[in-house]
Amino acid sequence: MREQKKNLTDRFIDLMVFLAYVFLLLPTVIVVLAAFNGGEYLHFPPDGFSLKWFSKLFATEQMMESFFFSIRLALAASVTSTLIGLGAALYVVRYAGRLASVLRPYILSPLMLPSILTGLALMISFYSTGIGGKSFLGLYAGHTLITTPYVFLVVSSVLYNFDYSMEEAARNLGATRLQTFFYVTLPHIKNGIIGSGVFAFITSFDQFPLSLLLTGPGYSTLPVQMFDYLRFEFDPVAAAIATINIVLAYGMMFLMEHSVGLKVLYGGKK
């Protein structure tokens, strides 16, 4: 009797878990299906496999333009934030001492506040100072601001786990400070740095609320362009570009998992 009851509970939990997975993955899977479906709407049964939305996508100039614009922006933001985030992480983990408890939250603070508020603050500031509320510079500044804390988070967690005695050994054997950094430290934290840069890239590429407020004519990021498109048209061209985006994101995720492990980013060990 008791054994049977236990099995029932177990099955119920299994069902809940299964439904939770379906729920989490559903919208992504649906977008991919819609992109390869022949018809305007996804029905049952589907209209058959087709690549026509992709060919229409490649002919939709503004979509392609904003795709490449987003790539350029994400590249600029991720390279910058990787450099400055690495510097900040090195300083906070190694040299800041007791100050670290103040400096760490300071660097992480852009992550804590809603990006819609940050976007508004940046927009009115840029507008007032005449930098222009709607320029590449504004987007670049905002995106780098959002991605730097992630780089800091990943690199500092890698540094916390780094064995310093290896550096001491190198120094004892006569290596200079710079040699030690480039030949001993860097190779060990390299994966962490690459992983954090990749994550910064995805974060910038996906960023929406901040971009919406800072995007202007001729400077539309892909999520903003998709958002505009979805308001007026509902055809699967958006699904086609979204599918490319999804493939890109998942590819990068596997790269990340391979280099540092994704856990570092989401409340993993410090």
């Binding site: 939770a20 989490l24 992504t28 400055i84 660097i107 990068m252 989401y266």
Partner: protein
């Protein structure tokens, strides 16, 4: 090594400086400016007028419309947290206790939606929930319903989107907390005669409370500050505080009005986040 201590400290500080300055210029100063604008008189012809006034705050805090929207936003946050909790707990429990070699893969599947942009995920829901969407199509064809169900451009659609987008954060918080509980405790309770449910209620649930707390606060903060989801899945039918802020500041070009709402929102978020950090610190201390 002719470098003095002070010089060395100075050159080390150079590592920190670029990020610190970036955050100062593009984060601290803009927020300060936002606060400054919130105390400026409103103008219909320019962004704001010179002078100092508390009118914007007085106006918002005595405006019943503002309170209704804020209350609805907070309520939406509470509902999202509860639903997330309900769906995440079984999942997190299984993940935490799993000994499968696919465990890290399963974990990745849970957090992978976070890497797909929020616009794309809302779009996926639109394909599913629209009047001509997949779900209505299916229900109509099977004859279960005669007219499409209103599944989006209303509160329901917004809630579906919010829960799906923010659930991974809850799963992560809960998994971490449950992992820290020694499974032996539960086995012991059961071997002493406690039923499975009692063992869960008296041991696992209370011990995972820090994870429940931190996950809930996190999801709550993310939900109430969400902009894209209520905009895309709510259409113009549901208004939340972030939407109201942007409408006021941009569409109505009332910077001081929007800025003062933003500051009120900022205070709510920061208060909740400090609570979140306190909970986390408390949980960490409990670990030692």
């Amino acid at each position: 090594m002719a470098v003095t201590k002070a010089q060395q400290a100075g050159s080390r500080l150079l590592l920190f400086l670029p990020a610190a300055l970036w955050i100062m210029i593009f984060f601290v100063l803009p927020y300060t400016f936002l606060g400054y604008v919130s105390f400026k008189p409103t103008s219909s012809s320019s962004a704001y007028l010179p002078g100092f006034t508390l009118d914007n705050y007085v106006f918002n805090l005595t405006d019943s419309f503002f309170w209704v929207i804020l209350a609805e936003t907070l309520l939406e946050g509470v509902a999202t947290v509860l639903i997330c909790l309900l769906f995440s707990y079984p999942l997190a429990y299984r993940l935490a206790r799993s000994r499968s070699r696919h465990r890290s893969l399963l974990y990745m599947v849970v957090i992978s939606p976070l890497l797909v942009g929020v616009v794309i995920r809302c779009y996926g829901w639109m394909v599913l929930l629209a009047d001509k969407g997949l779900i209505n199509d299916l229900l109509l064809k099977t004859g279960i319903i005669d007219a499409p169900l209103p599944l989006m451009y209303n509160m329901f659609g917004v809630m579906v989107g919010l829960v799906q987008v923010y659930m991974p954060y809850m799963v992560i918080s809960l998994t971490g907390a449950i992992q820290r509980i020694n499974p032996e405790l539960e086995y012991t309770a059961r071997s002493l005669g406690a039923s499975r449910f009692t063992a869960f209620r008296k041991i696992t649930l209370p011990m995972s409370l820090p994870g429940i707390m931190s996950g809930s606060i996190l999801v709550f903060v993310l939900t109430i500050s969400s902009y894209a989801i209520p905009l895309l899945l709510g259409g113009n039918k549901t208004l939340t505080t972030p939407l109201l802020i942007v409408q006021t500041a941009l569409d109505a070009f009332d910077w001081p009005g929007g800025a003062s709402m933003a500051v009120i929102m900022f205070v709510i978020v920061v208060t909740l986040l400090s609570l979140y950090i306190k909970v986390l610190m408390h949980a960490m201390r409990g670990m030692k």
